[in-house]
């Protein structure tokens, strides 16, 4: 089934000055469509975390929003180093963020766990040396 609404954002590597712009735009559009309350806030948190991950860890990627009648879907797809140990990456407090990221206050190691906690459906696939794709679903009642 085709999504009724779709939007795509390119996120560049290490672009800290623009970090958060895509997720702010996603939140604005969802409000105007009529997605509100708890779902809106959870999508806002998850999209911010995944956008930041693209900035901090990847070599650049695409953040896609798909809206279906009963589901809001967020897909993050990047080119990058990939995640060697997925289990460790999903642990709270574990971070592979570099010097620059930490100096700006990022790299607390809460990104992926936050995403998983806020999404109703969470799937992550990664290949070392190639890239990572994260698919999150948020159910609309």
């Amino acid at each position: 089934m085709e999504p009724m609404f779709t939007g795509s954002y390119h996120v560049a590597k290490a672009d800290y000055s623009s970090a958060g712009r895509a997720s702010a735009d996603i939140k604005r559009q969802l409000k105007q469509i009529g997605v509100g309350g708890d779902v809106l806030r959870r999508v806002a948190v998850a999209s911010y975390e995944v956008e930041l991950n693209l900035v901090i860890h990847s070599l650049g990627g695409e953040l896609t929003l798909n809206v279906y009648p009963d589901l809001v879907q967020l897909i993050s797809s990047d080119v990058g180093p990939g995640i060697p140990d997925l289990t460790m990456a999903m642990k709270e407090g574990y971070s592979t963020a570099n010097e620059e990221a930490r100096s700006l206050g990022f790299g607390a190691g809460m990104g992926l766990p936050n995403m998983k906690r806020n999404a109703d459906d969470f799937d992550i696939k990664s290949t070392v040396g190639v890239g990572t794709t994260i698919t999150m679903g948020f159910h609309l009642t």
């Binding site: 609404f5 105007q32 009529g34 509100g36 806002a44």
Partner: protein
């Protein structure tokens, strides 16, 4: 026909030049310029008064009640906002202002700062409850509450469900006056001396209450000149329970936060700053915070568009005044009997506004959103305001809502005219041959 929701901010049509000043400064994009003059969109206007501040032609005004209205009641009680005290440079004692109000025709005066003391206690009682939303958001600034209704409706559950100091003051003032003077409540009118239009609006269109206990609002600007000669005289203490320094400090930003939750609160002033921080609250970025105080005006209420004195000077006046008032906290000074006797909680819920949605039907809204994004691609992106909408994005939204067409964009029209001119030349040439 459905009645238009009341707003105190109005346009004086004859003075409006149809420029783009207010259009570009409205924090909720509630203004459009069509037919050579500004129009305020009722559903988006929060009565913050930014347009009043920026209009160079004095065409934007707040319609408040005239002082002559007090004559409609046998007894008129003045409810001065504490920001009124900050209007008189060098004033160290609020009692002079209180006595001056009696001199200009009010039968009695009840300090809204005292209402703020009662509300401080009520909020502090609430903060003792477990499982409160983080942060709890102050309901004191009606412009900020309306902003939340329209733009951050998911944060309405965080807004504390306690009445504004003005309302609590009106309830207590009226009850105590009636009891003391043994008169008919219908003969008593309460008048708030206001620094801003938002508080005028909330009297006619209450937030969280079925009906306001206040009968009218007179602007500080109108009262200042009348009070000044009297303030300059020494007067006796009236016999009433005076406000503490904490209640008086509610007139400046962080006064409320300092009274209610000094350990873990944040005060933000200026409507655009409030918007930015509420975005962060919405993103769950401030969940360690217990209390949030948002003020539409810089400096807090002393910076209201209907005040006389410069907001920094007024804030300083309040600070000097507060520094030499006795150290008494509402926790000790407001007896529990007052909390039990007079209502301090809302009696209706504050509901979200849905003007921001493109359509009530989500599928339709998505279709409109798609059309909107498509149109934006074709627009020049100058945000010039010539079409009468504040930005190219809001112009695309207006097209999709059916309020205007693409040709209202002068840049698109100019490009089309160039093509048409070229076509006319070609037509003329082909006819000749």
């Amino acid at each position: 026909m459905e009645e238009r929701p009341y707003h105190s901010v109005h346009l004086a049509k004859d003075l409006c030049k149809g420029c783009t000043n207010c259009l570009k400064h409205c924090p909720t994009e509630a203004i459009r310029v069509r037919g050579g003059r500004a129009h305020i969109l009722d559903a988006f206007c929060i009565d913050c008064g930014e347009c009043i501040r920026v209009c160079e032609n004095h065409a934007k005004v707040a319609v408040t009640d005239p002082i002559s209205m007090i004559k409609e009641f046998k007894y008129a009680i003045a409810l001065p906002a504490p920001s009124l005290y900050g209007q008189f440079r060098g004033l160290l004692n609020p009692e002079y202002v209180i006595e001056a109000l009696r001199c200009v025709g009010f039968a009695d005066v009840y300090e809204v700062a005292r209402g703020a003391d009662v509300v401080t206690r009520a909020i502090r009682e609430k903060l003792k409850q477990p499982d409160l939303p983080r942060p709890l958001i102050s309901s004191a600034c009606p412009a900020v509450v309306r902003l939340i209704q329209i733009r951050f409706p998911d944060l309405l559950d965080n807004v504390v469900d306690i009445r504004q100091p003005m309302e609590v003051a009106a309830t207590i003032a009226k009850a105590e006056f009636v009891k003391k003077n043994n008169c008919d409540p219908k003969d008593v009118g309460c008048f708030f001396i206001t620094p801003c239009p938002a508080k005028m609006t909330v009297i006619r269109r209450p937030l969280g209450q079925k009906k306001s206990g206040v009968d009218g609002a007179i602007s500080i600007l109108e009262m200042y000149g009348l009070l000044l000669p009297y303030v300059e005289r020494m007067m006796n203490d009236p016999s009433y329970s005076p406000a503490t320094k904490y209640g008086v400090a509610w007139s400046t930003s962080d006064g409320e936060a300092n009274a209610v939750c000094p350990g873990n609160s944040l005060s933000v002033d200026g409507i655009n700053n409030v918007i930015r921080v509420l975005e962060e609250v919405e993103n769950y970025k401030l969940t360690d915070l217990a209390y949030f105080e948002g003020n539409a005006c810089l400096g807090g209420c002393v910076g209201g568009p209907l005040t006389f004195e410069n907001n920094y000077v007024a804030k300083n006046t309040i600070r000097q005044m507060v520094n030499q008032m006795p150290e008494v906290h509402p926790d000790k000074d407001v007896p529990t009997s007052i909390l039990n006797k007079y209502p301090t909680k809302n009696d209706v819920d504050i509901l979200p506004g849905d003007a921001i949605k493109l359509d009530d039907n989500m599928a339709e809204a998505m279709k409109k959103m798609n059309r909107m994004n498509e149109i934006i691609e074709r627009l020049p992106g100058y945000d010039c305001g010539s079409c009468g909408s504040p930005t190219c994005r809001s112009f695309a939204e207006d097209i999709v809502r059916g309020y205007c067409t693409e040709m209202d964009c002068i840049h698109i029209m100019r490009d089309k005219l160039k093509i048409m001119a070229q076509q006319m030349v070609e037509l003329a040439q082909s006819e000749r041959s």
